[in-house]
Subunit: 355 residues, 2 copies
DNA sequence: TTGTAGGCGTTATCAC
DNA sequence: GTGATAACGCCTACAA
């Protein structure tokens, strides 16, 4: 337990000023690099500060200036390699712009997201980068309106005037299906997660936009390929490797199993691949595989996995850049910035096996 | 450019107080949940606050209380899955204790680490979790001495009185060699990174402790197995997948290539594995492989990889817990807390091939 | 329970 | 260029 611990006894500007034999104002100017100070005074102040071990207090400064030089970053789960890279990108942009990053994980829980935003706002972040989970958007709009700019990362939100940095998930997904159909597949499965791990994301229903867009792109691809009953092998309740594993195992046991499988991200692909291995089935002889996200391992498994590569780090960096522009006062109309995915063809797709 | 943007016009406690017809102090008590306020007054204040859109300012509070309810987290690179998991652990512990997390990446650069610590200190973090890179330790000691407790994560530091949460890298490494020797291997390679990507970490020299300990554990294992010239296949300048790839390729081209390879982390393993694939060699028929870190993919490649699993997330969580204890006032002597690794035997180790 | 007054460490203002 | 002094928004006495 222990008592609330006495306040850290920090050396303050008045103390430094006294030691240097100048006024508080002059010491403040020398230490804070603003206004004008004579070379002589500056030196006295600086050496006194060094001697006393002065540490500036950015909080007190932030109260006055109204800027904390800190941005808030809200993501679902930093352990997902996609988000880890995106966080890295935001961090780099922040650093380049002289900002620090306050990080929050939501685990796709709307309540946690809301409360995270509230807390970050109370901590006076100058702006917010959010990969929004499903649910209400009013806390984000409120933040923006209260003067704290918000940039959305990776996931769209409808009916809000916010900057967004995205990827065209719909198009990338339908292209995957086209590729598979081109190879001769008709029984194409898609395994993906919903809003939360437990809630399925049916097309047109709620769930994060990436999930929805990928599903709709999948369905559109199936339609374009003239494949009937496109939902036959669509599984939308598999957001974790474990769920993906279970769902895939179940599909592979079907009398007419799919001949190709499309995984909505690298962790889903991992679960699906494990199920395939355990079946045991060979890729691509028995079943073809395509996944979203060029996770580091996809190039090293045998066979290497054909993927849709997303520029995760660049997405984060760009979101950070745009946010910093807003903080600096940019008043342009909010807009959606689309970054390109790259379809990386490797060795996990082959012609369908005749079951 | 745009001007420095006018200060966000936030509603303050005095304003709420005026609207509610009470004093600043009463409003502050109602809003801050301290002292005592009558039910009636509280309601008036709360509804006035809601009406005006009051947002509390944690910075102003922090100036007074001396506590920011924020901890600083300094790691090398959040994109490394090990650190991503550790960060997640620290985040969870922080959340559980009512703290937010200010995150900094150092890229193993001592200067960036020092400056990160300074900035976090200026932002008045209540404590620091650091995975220290090599270099001086004085900034950490100074932080601790100035009243900001510091807990080291994953990496030891000599001659400092700080809490550390670690794993026994030396023992785990020598056990790996023992396992390999047991399988009959004599030409055992180790591929690992040094301090920075560019600087090799020779035993007994500088470099992060994990690297050093693993190398020394490796050498000890070789010694115990009675293998002469243990440094023959020791490569300490491979911290990235790319470098690991290059170094491994070079070793595999030797007249007498190693028959087993020990990778110091999952990213090194990735690079090494790619080199092995390109050789092309088979695992484990042509070469055996063991790696540190149970990255998600190690179980799904063929063959699955035998690994030393580290409790990355638990390590982070524990570091956070200990730090929060310190912040609460714990005065125990600093100590090293060792968490257990698990040797997970899979299918990447076989008898040596007779080259 | 409530209000007044003062202070936290900084920056902003305005004379000198 | 410099110094006194007033903010910033909040919490903490202390008195009523």
């Amino acid at each position: 337990m222990g008592r609330p611990r006495a306040r850290r006894d920090q050396v303050s500007i008045p103390q430094v000023a006294r030691a240097a034999g100048v006024s508080t104002a002059t010491a403040g100017r020398a230490l804070g690099n603003y206004g004008s100070v004579s070379q002589q005074a500056r030196e006295k102040v600086l050496s006194a500060a060094a001697e006393l071990g002065y540490q500036r207090n950015d909080l007190a400064r932030a109260i006055i200036t109204g800027r904390s030089d800190t941005i808030g970053l809200v993501v679902a789960d930093i352990e997902n390699p996609f988000f880890a890279a995106a966080v890295r990108g935001v961090s780099d942009a922040a650093r380049a712009g002289g900002f620090e990053v306050l990080l929050s994980n939501t685990d796709e829980d709307p309540d946690r997201e809301r409360s995270a935003v509230d807390i970050l706002l109370a901590k006076q972040v100058d702006g917010l980068v959010v990969a929004p989970t499903a649910g209400s958007t009013e806390h984000l709009v409120r933040a923006q309106r209260s003067g704290c700019p918000v940039v959305l990362l990776d996931r769209r939100l409808e009916n809000v005037e916010l900057d967004m940095v995205l990827v065209d998930n719909f198009r990338a997904s339908s292209a995957v299906v086209a590729h598979l159909a081109q190879a001769g597949h008709r029984r194409i499965a898609m395994v993906t997660g919903g809003t939360r791990a437990s809630e399925p994301a049916a097309p047109g229903q709620r769930g994060v936009s990436t999930g929805r867009d990928r599903v709709e792109g999948f369905l559109r691809g199936m339609l374009d390929a003239g494949i009937p009953d496109p939902q036959r092998y669509l599984r939308t309740a598999a957001g974790t490797p474990e769920q993906a594993h279970a769902v895939t195992t179940e599909m592979l046991a079907l009398p007419e199993p799919p001949t190709a499988l499309f995984a909505s991200d690298s962790r889903v692909a991992l679960g699906a691949l494990r199920a395939i291995r355990e079946a045991p089935l060979r890729v691509p002889e028995d079943i073809s595989l395509v996944a979203f996200d060029d996770a580091d391992w996809t190039g090293v498994v045998t066979p290497s996995v054909t993927v849709v590569s997303q520029p995760a780090q660049a997405l984060g960096y760009r979101a950070g850049e745009i946010l910093i522009g807003r903080i600096a006062g940019s008043e342009e109309l909010p807009r959606n910035e689309l970054m390109s995915t790259v379809f990386i063809e490797r060795n996990s797709v082959g012609p369908p096996r005749a079951w």
